[in-house]
């Protein structure tokens, strides 16, 4: 019986960690969305605005991935699966961009 129990790591793997405060993440996402709108209508120089917006969007995306998709609490080997396409994505964009250069 003991062997069977150790052979069942699929047990409460997701329930092991304490559930994050989802409402706090939600509030952060709401506030960041409002900050984005403020940045758009504030009349900043264009490149400053773009930089700020991209930063805010990536911040929001990270919050969703880390807490809602609970990547923060996943084993490293799952992170490798998740992160694998990112370098490929970068190569794709750079390669296509290179093709557009005259």
């Amino acid at each position: 019986m003991e062997r069977a129990m150790t052979a069942a790591p699929a047990g409460p793997e997701a329930a092991e960690h304490k559930a994050p405060n989802y409402v706090a993440v939600w509030a952060a996402l709401a506030v960041l969305t409002m900050v984005e709108l403020a940045v758009v209508y504030m009349g900043l120089p264009r490149h400053v605005m773009i930089l700020a917006l991209v930063f805010l969007a990536l911040w929001k995306a990270m919050l969703v991935a880390l807490y809602f998709m609970h990547l923060r609490f996943e084993p490293k080997r799952l992170l490798y699966v998740v992160l694998a396409p990112l370098p490929l994505a970068l190569i794709l964009v750079i390669a296509v961009m290179h093709g557009f250069r005259k």
Binding site: A15, W26, L53, A61, V64, L78, A84, A89
Partner: protein
């Protein structure tokens, strides 16, 4: 008795761990149950798919020196901002449904799943309404590069949301039939991952297509 049956019995007998975990299959090769690993591999391919679309947009707009209209003059930013917020809210209700499924709280599981389906449906509805308005104003997929890229990206995202709403409606029906009882949260977690991914893509799209 097989090792798996023993594991099910052990988990059930303990009374602490949700019994149905082991019933939905042994963990995959990396120690993550198969449906979840499968969903993550699928999402990895989705990352590539949306990178192709978003990357093309970035290159066409900034890398190739094409003239571009003022997106804020064409698109309705306030309505879409509210719609973005609705999608974020539906992500929160999804994660609440997952938490309810983990602690085997059937009442809240059903309630939060319904909220998520309604949120997703509202998002699609508002997008369709925006499309109709834009078409009436003469902004079409044939209206230059911006029209083409706008409808391609938001259209594919809307298609993903629609698929999500349909799948989630099915999951909700299953929840009402008691298929996720006894801490059997795997189905909820898997559809949740897809739903959060669609939300994540929209966060990027909203910024890069509407705001910038």
């Amino acid at each position: 008795m097989t090792a798996r049956a023993e594991a099910v019995r052990a988990a059930g007998g303990e009374g602490t761990a949700p019994a149905a975990h082991a019933a939905s299959g042994p963990p995959g090769g990396v120690g993550i149950y198969t449906q979840k690993l499968g969903m993550w591999v699928f999402l990895a391919s989705e990352v590539m798919f949306f990178t192709a679309l978003i990357g093309s947009y970035i290159i066409l707009r900034w890398g190739a020196g094409n003239p571009w209209p003022d997106t804020r003059a064409v698109l309705n930013i306030p309505t879409t901002a509210v719609n973005t917020f609705i999608l974020i809210c539906s992500s929160v209700s999804m994660v609440k449904a997952y938490a309810a499924a983990v602690r085997d709280d059937q009442k809240h599981l059903k309630r939060w799943l319904l909220t998520t389906v309604v949120g997703g449906a509202i998002f699609v509805g508002v997008q369709v309404r925006e499309y109709i308005k834009l078409v009436h104003h003469g902004f079409l997929p044939s209206s230059g590069l911006f029209g083409a890229t706008f409808y391609t990206m938001t259209g594919f995202h809307g298609f993903h949301v629609t698929c999500g709403v349909i799948s989630m409606a099915w999951v909700t029906i299953r929840a009402f039939r008691g298929k996720y009882k006894g801490g059997n949260y795997h189905g909820i977690e898997t559809i949740g991952l897809y739903w959060h991914f669609v939300d994540l893509v929209w966060i990027i799209l909203f910024t890069i297509v509407y705001l910038v």
